[in-house]
Amino acid sequence: MGEHHTILELLGLNTPTAKYWISIGLFLATYAMIILEKFFHRVPAALLGGALAIFIGLVTPKEAWESIDHNTMFLLVGMMVIVSVLIESGFFSILSNWALRITKGDPLKILLVFTFLTAFLSAFLDNVTTVLFMVPILLQMLIKLRINPIPYVIATVLASNIGGTATLIGDPPNIIIGSLGHFTFNDFIVNLTPIIIITHIFGTITFVLYMKWRGYLERKITDERELKEIIEGQKAEYDIPLMRKGLIIFGITLLLFFFHHLIGLEPGTVALTMASILLLWTKLNPEKVFERVEWGTLMFFVGLFMVIGTLEVTGVFEDLAHFVAGIVKDALSGILIIGGLSAIISGIVDNIPFTMAMSYVLLDLQQSVHFNVEPLWWALALGACLGGNLTIIGASANVVAAGLVEKEGYKISFFDFIKMGTPVAMVTVFVALFLLWLKYLIFGY
């Protein structure tokens, strides 16, 4: 057997320092391709970034494979299958007709009802699940009303990321923080939920003002008779027995999500198992069900995880986290520094690997500093979760929503998202960190 050399070895660039800088270069190049969506589709762009990391020898195929978060992937596939069956059963059409009737087709009411419901559900469900559940209803309803759904979908995703911050199970970074920092469900309720309730109000005011300013809250159908006809004339094609099975499995899945820590199962395992049971139970043709699974979104995640995993392997994340820790002098300033930086970084890279790296740094910090680092954990949670609203790739739910919208023939561009997401992220991060800071200033540690 001949000896194999990687391209980096052949070029004499196999040193840790070279790999470190090349991984940053590869990440930036991939990121640029994702941003330049007029020229490149984001899915092959992310996949190429991940594949090139293996091709040139930055990481081994095994390292790349292991950097794909299987929990996220299983959760996505499982929930997409369950939601696909619920779509087939007509459940979302029924809900959309119901929502149309209670909001009477008023754009502001639609926005408020959906964002509030989404934020509430996200506190108890994974954000991706909430988005997979809410966005199809919203899309069906807005298309009927001839309203551009993009700003409404973005607002819904923003609300999902805000609401998800409120509890231990609402967002993957919180699950990581809870697990590594040894915080309970109740710790999150006491420390984050009140802050998030107030933050959500500020977030809502921000996107409502933005949408009003841009004229997105105007009715497209002004004739009351036509509107009434649309609202009352909606008939859903549904299948009650299929809906029953779908809702039973969905309910059990949610229940298991709640107790997944107690039974030692990851949400992804739960979702994949329940989706498989649902397919067997309903006897639906799997190929038909899989037609609704967002394969593009899944492949985007595969590529993104591999590219970001490369930064982890070459030690970029570790350095970043140490740099942040180095400038933290006390807990109060730490709240703003850790929270603010986490928000910015989470808006640029996926918040899961970053939160993980940062959590290990905080664990180290706990041993070496004289102050209580608990406020820093909460600042990390707020920054990492709310920062996900900065860009379209800041959180998994954002990418999933973009995929859902694309299936209906619309497109959320990188800049469409930034226009709404960035102001909301800035306001919510500022309000949330200020409230956390105020809490510790008034009540002490």
Binding site: I94, E237, Y238, D239, I240, P241, M243, R244, L247
Partner: protein, 248 residues
């Protein structure tokens, strides 16, 4: 025993069932018997005063009553519930229709005082000659407007054909299969009823979903199906119109 029309009520009286029964009994010269369970006596007296129906309060289960009375047709109420609630709460009348295929039933949807527009479902494989003849004669004698309808379920063939044939060819093949299916159903009806010409509404999709949806959108009052249709229970659940289920 003379054939009669039976009405079954449990806990609540639905006036629309009484109205439809009156209409049918007048056209068919049938005697109407109302069996009730768990309904106060004064409510029963109101029925007797208003209509020329025999009203019996009985503790026997409805299956035994059906066996004893052997009615030509049994009318049952179907309360209006939202589809999501319906997924978890099934009315007793639907359960009764699902449990047996020995009797003709008419589930009268709450709020449907008069039945005027009817869809008569016939398929190629399960609809028997007896079903086609008896339902046709019943609807004709009743004097309602009715149309034959059939549904071609292409989903099964679609994936198979699309895998093995280019898109255009698959489309043409499916189109031909659809035409053949409709023509087979039409010939079947013509032969059984000895008619020269039969108009039929051809639909594509999954019968249990497509048929109730079509009836809902086009404002039909009644959907007639046979007990032999394999997704009978699912179709009944998915309907928001009245449904008649006849012996095959």
């Amino acid at each position: 025993m003379t054939e009669n029309l039976l009405i079954l009520f449990k806990e609540k009286i639905f006036n629309e069932v009484l109205s439809v029964a009156k209409d049918i009994s007048t056209k068919f010269q049938l005697k109407v018997k109302v069996y009730t369970q768990d309904i106060p006596q004064e409510e029963l007296e109101k029925i007797s005063q208003k209509r020329d129906f025999d009203v019996v309060s009985s503790a026997e289960d409805f299956e035994t009553i059906l066996e004893k009375e052997r009615p030509f047709l049994t009318l049952l109420p179907r309360p209006k519930v939202s589809p999501i609630v319906h997924a978890f709460v099934k009315p007793w009348s639907e359960k009764l229709v699902e449990s047996t295929d020995r009797w003709n039933f008419l589930l009268v949807e709450q709020g449907m005082e008069k039945i005027k527009k009817v869809l008569l479902y016939v398929d190629r494989d399960t609809s028997s000659d007896n079903y086609i003849r008896s339902t046709y004669e019943f609807l004709k004698k009743w004097g309602v407007d009715f149309e034959f309808v059939t549904v071609f379920d292409e989903r099964y063939f679609e994936l198979l054909i699309k895998k093995e044939h280019p898109e255009q060819e698959a489309k043409e093949l499916l189109g031909r299969m659809f035409e053949d299916y409709i023509s087979a159903v039409r010939e079947k009806i013509k032969k059984v009823l000895q008619l020269e010409k039969v108009e039929i509404i051809p639909l594509k999709g999954e019968v249990r979903k497509t048929l109730p949806y079509f009836a809902r959108v086009h404002k039909y009052d009644l959907l007639v199906i046979s007990h032999a249709y394999e997704d009978k229970n699912e179709l009944i659940e998915n309907s928001e119109t009245s449904v008649a289920v006849f012996k095959n």
